[in-house]
């Protein structure tokens, strides 16, 4: 694959390796494959959901090949199935994908890829590759972890998307098989590890209230976008409360911010 070749050409730029690597390559590969395979298999749920939502085989596979960030893909097909405006649907998927920019920022320092390799590596910047890469002790292991996770996950995710879409066509009525529950379950599984503190729980609760109350009133797709306002709203209220409590708590937001920056994935479970 193009990504592989390009990433390898940058290896020379890495700092000199210690005589004995901090972590054996085989251990890095094992961790990376564990995550890549477990999460890659869930492309099956996406393929089924997308086909069940009425997207063609080509459209379903194009999403996994070109978008390659699960939550955004599920959000897009869900919004399209509901009959929303295509750009409103894309906006929801896009906002979910914005978190990848912050993963990229942290990976950039760890991986140290050249400018020529970055356009290829960028496609693999997602929750799972970030989690594996940031868990490595040095640059060599980080690059290996990123590449192996990215490659195994990309290959499997696309393969299982295809199988899922074909399978859904064979199954016929996907709702009779309960497959319409796969998408909200995926969202819930992605959300659960993010609900670390009160701030996240309040934002999640407010978002649910916003979407449920506006759903019958606003055009399809708009309520989900509106619910995103729960995030800045909660931050504003939290900022006010911190200021009201005085400057004694100055360290809390910073420590909190760092904690939030970690990717929320299933790494340890996978």
């Amino acid at each position: 694959m193009a990504e592989q070749t390009d990433i390898r050409t940058t290896e020379e730029a890495a700092p000199p390796e210690p005589a004995r690597p901090a972590k054996p390559d085989s251990a890095v590969i094992r961790d990376a494959l564990g995550v890549g395979i477990a999460v890659g298999l869930s492309g099956f749920a996406f393929g089924v959901t997308s086909a069940g939502a009425g997207l063609s085989l080509l459209q379903t596979c194009a999403l996994s090949l070109l978008v390659f960030t699960g939550a955004s893909q599920f959000a897009l097909v869900g919004a399209l199935a509901a009959g929303g405006n295509p750009l409103t649907a894309a906006a929801g998927a896009f906002f979910l994908g914005v978190r990848n920019a912050f993963y990229g920022l942290r990976l950039s320092a760890v991986l140290g890829y050249r400018a020529t390799a970055r356009p290829f590596a960028a496609h693999w910047v997602i929750d799972e590759t970030t989690a594996v890469t940031l868990a490595q002790p040095d640059r060599r292991s980080a690059r290996l972890g990123f590449t192996v996770t990215g490659l195994s996950l990309y290959a499997l995710w696309n393969l299982t998307t295809l199988i899922g879409a074909l399978g859904a066509e064979a199954l016929g009525d996907t709702e009779a098989w309960g497959l319409d529950a796969a998408s909200p379950a995926v969202f819930l599984a992605l959300l659960a590890p993010m609900l670390r503190s009160t701030v996240e729980r309040v934002a999640a609760g407010l978002a649910v209230v916003l979407v449920m109350t506006t759903l019958p009133l606003l055009p399809t797709g708009v309520p989900v976008l509106l619910s995103a306002l729960a995030a800045p709203a909660v931050l504003v209220v939290q900022g006010r409360r911190e200021r009201a409590q005085g400057t004694g708590n100055d360290t809390t937001p910073t420590a909190d911010g760092d904690a939030h920056d970690r990717p929320a994935t299933e790494e340890k479970r996978a």
Partner: protein, 102 residues
């Protein structure tokens, strides 16, 4: 055609934010407020999407077998089940409740 427009817009947008993050000079996106907003945005969106897809058809509120399936997924998550099992439980319980006429 509309579907292809949505796919193209999502693909371009999602790729650009990934590339932007990987290529931006360190410090550009490092302001604490920006980081916290970026961390909280997916929390709000995922919560809204979970609720919407569980309790509605996209426009009308409704309660059906899916709610039981997603509730079972929540229990599986509390019990620290792996990702695939969580999704599998949701599907199986939804199908089961529907088969029983729920």
């Amino acid at each position: 055609m509309n579907v292809w427009i949505a796919i193209a817009a999502t693909a371009v947008g999602c790729y650009l934010v990934k590339y932007l993050g990987l290529s931006a000079p360190a410090g550009v996106l490092e302001r604490p407020l920006v980081k916290r907003l970026a961390a909280l945005l997916p929390v709000a969106l995922l919560a809204a999407l979970t609720a919407q897809q569980t309790f509605s058809d996209g426009h009308h509120l409704m309660l059906d077998a899916k709610a039981a399936g997603v509730a079972a997924a929540a229990v599986a998550l509390v019990l620290r089940a792996p990702f695939l099992l969580v999704v599998g439980v949701a599907v199986a319980v939804t199908a089961g409740v529907r088969a029983l006429g729920g």
